[in-house]
């Protein structure tokens, strides 16, 4: 029955956004209502749906002509993650950005875009959704109304538009050859002509540019560190993953063949991302830049999916591992950015070495950093550990030893930069403890998210089952 309410996830935020745009003063009220409803809906739906895939031919027209909505375990998991984090970020922003601000209309439009993206099974429809998400993300970054933020927003816009137009070029090349935009139909008709490989290349580059994969990551640190805290949490946890979700769908569903060379090259890109991101995170003097570079590093892990998924027997586990990694990283990264926002709010700046005073005053925030950090580091009782463990199992099973070294080495590097923040709490044990002067909600939300990130480590089964079933049975839509 819950499945019937899924379309609301796309249309409710649209109506909410219009209301928030017309009456900006009531924006947060409308937004929180919509986010709350959406979060509960996705949560119930996630646990009740059978993960073999739910389709709806929009407008009643079948695949080649009409647009098809397709929801399987993978997209349902990310949809639930998006809405839960949306709600959490909404509650955080409610106190962080007091007063009337266009943040709420843009957030709701982005939620609608993301929900529709996870539902979309049509290449051109995905393009429109990527545009909506990209434009609202850039607008949110520019909300900070500071020179650095707007400069970063301009770069981010050029990257976002460039990425989307490259993706559109690929879609056009594919459509003219195979006369269909539906993913599953395309999977049957696609063959390896040079133009198709050029098209897939363009789409790949465009999407990896939008999901800030190393060496195409240059725009992320500036944009994510200068944006207001709730916005950078939203961007790091969700937006970069939306475009990676599309890459994942292309790789899984329509690629004519998964050549080893390509898979290994993408894996190598991931390794470079982990190294570069971690080293930069260790060197940067600013806290928010540290967390942003940590995103660049953690996104590297997602690229391990490609080499790990080419072994037939282990593909399902590889997808489960990477998707679970996205969930765990999303929650932990959102908590980290909120904590960074609190520390900046209290200290007035985010230079890491003189944040000692703020760290002492904001004990719950530091505790949230510890919990979220445990998941980022992949230490046992956390979601990050389960994801890393699954990937370890896959790389062991499929005999690709190199990824074990990468997974463990990357983990140690993340320990190094997370403890740069955690050691703040112990540095200044001598300083007097000033009142935190921060609204308790600002400290509560990251703490709750950190708790969830660790709790994920204890019963990840429902999520992992959802994803593995999804991979197994991608239904064939008859033309």
């Amino acid at each position: 029955m819950i499945e019937a309410l899924v379309p609301l996830l796309v249309f409710l935020p649209l109506i909410g956004a219009v209301a928030a745009f017309i009456r900006e003063r009531f924006g947060h009220g409308v937004a929180l209502m919509v986010l709350g409803a959406g979060a509960t809906l996705t949560l119930f739906h996630f646990f009740t749906m059978d993960h073999h895939g739910w389709t709806m031919n929009l407008g009643g027209w079948a695949a080649p002509l009409g647009i098809v909505w397709y929801l399987d375990g993978l997209s349902a998991t990310l949809m639930t993650l998006t809405w839960l984090l949306g709600l959490a970020i909404g509650m955080y922003a409610r106190t962080y950005l007091a007063g009337s601000t266009p943040f709420w209309a843009l957030l709701l439009l982005m939620m609608s875009g993301m929900s529709a993206l996870f539902l979309a099974n049509d290449l051109f429809n995905i393009y429109v959704m990527l545009e909506i998400i990209g434009l609202s993300a850039v607008a949110l970054v520019a909300l900070a109304n500071k020179r650095e933020a707007v400069r970063a927003a301009v770069t981010y816009l050029m990257v976002s538009l460039g990425g989307s137009i490259l993706y559109l070029a690929g879609v056009a090349f594919l459509y003219t050859q195979y006369a269909t935009l539906d993913l599953f139909l395309l999977a049957d008709r696609i063959d390896g002509t040079p133009l198709t490989w050029v098209a897939l290349g363009l789409m790949g580059v465009g999407l990896l540019l939008k999901s800030a994969m190393f060496p195409l990551h240059f725009w992320l640190p500036g944009a994510h560190s200068n944006a207001p805290a709730p916005v950078s949490a939203l961007l790091s946890a969700l937006v970069v993953k939306a475009s990676f979700f599309v890459v994942l769908r292309l790789w899984r569903d329509i690629l004519p063949a998964q050549p080893d060379l390509l898979a290994w090259a993408l894996g190598a890109m991931g390794v470079a991302a982990i190294l570069y991101g971690s080293v930069q995170a260790l060197r940067t003097p600013r806290l928010k830049l540290l967390v942003a570079y940590s995103t660049v590093a953690q996104l590297g892990y997602l690229m391990l999916l490609f080499p790990l998924s080419i072994q037939a027997g282990y593909a399902a586990n590889a997808y489960a591992g990477v998707t679970f990694f996205m969930v765990a990283h999303g929650i932990a990264k959102a908590a980290l950015f909120m904590a960074a926002g609190n520390l900046q709010l209290h200290a007035g700046h985010d230079r890491l070495k003189d944040l000692g005073q703020a760290a002492v005053a904001l004990q719950p925030t530091l505790f949230a950093v510890a919990l979220a950090g445990a998941s980022i580091m992949g230490l046992p009782p956390s979601g990050g550990f389960i994801a890393k463990w699954t990937l370890l199992g896959v790389s062991l099973g499929s005999g690709q030893w190199i990824w074990i070294v990468v997974l463990l080495g990357g983990g140690l590097l993340s320990v190094a930069y997370i403890f740069r923040v955690l050691s703040l709490a112990f540095q200044s044990s001598t300083m007097p403890r000033r009142a935190s002067g921060i609204h308790p909600m600002l400290q509560l939300v990251p703490l709750a998210l950190g708790g969830i990130a660790v709790a994920l480590g204890f019963n990840p089964m429902p999520i992992i089952e959802a994803i593995t079933q999804a991979h197994a049975a991608a239904p064939q839509v008859t033309p």
Partner: protein, 296 residues
Amino acid sequence: MTLVFIDYGLAVMLAVLTLTTLFSAQIDRAIMSFVGAGLVASLIWARLSAPDIAIAEAAIGAGVTGALLLATWHRLDKPEAPIEPASLLVGITVTVVILVAAALLVMTMTTTSGLGALVQDKLPLSDVGNPVTGVLLNFRSFDTLMEIGVLLVTLVAVKSLNLNIAPAAAAPGPVLDSLVRVAVPLAVVFGGYVLWAGADTPGGAFQAGAIWSGAGLLLYLSGNLPRLPLLHSFWPTIGLVTFTTAALVTYALTGVVLQYALWPAGLWIVVIEVFAALSIAATLFLLVVPDTLEGK
């Protein structure tokens, strides 16, 4: 026979205009050649029997975008874009490489008969004569809904920047006055015709919206734009609201989003198109002059 020369002529003109846009140092020359490229493109669309796109390209691609570019160019007080000779060199070599690659790619591509036939035989079911409008508002109606969503996102984004731009000094010279007195009513009537005829002949909401926004801009520049209540709240969002309510109502009725029921599909489409055209006109107008008559 002569038609072939026109095709090749247009192709060469478009190629030249592209080069001048991309690799010229003065930005105003780049903008001029971009608008030129837009107009040549709309001619090519007409040649390739895509009349709807020709109108849209002329009205939106060249018209609104050209206005925006020039307005911004002035607001940024005429910046220059120096090009290093190296990038010119790279540009030329890349052109040659791409030319060869393009030829190769086009040679080896598989071709299909496309969905033309399928659209033809399904068109009567969509209760609309013009196949493009059929695809836009029936077969792939969700795309169009979200596209109007994109317009709203842009409007919210531009307003969130709250730029303080001095209103354009209206210079009511005789030429502008006579142009306004003749062009504006013509544009409004022509827009209405394009909107209404869109069901069966080339035209539709977007083209009508673009033409109306052009008329609005003319009125604004000539300084006699009437006070339009709710310009900033009701008009730009009514299109999306109607389309979304249509989606929800059809979903409630038939269990499938945007599957038109109860009334004939044609009626649904006309209602959606009218409101969509109005909100597109309002949004495009506001994008060019974001804070006119700020009164809510």
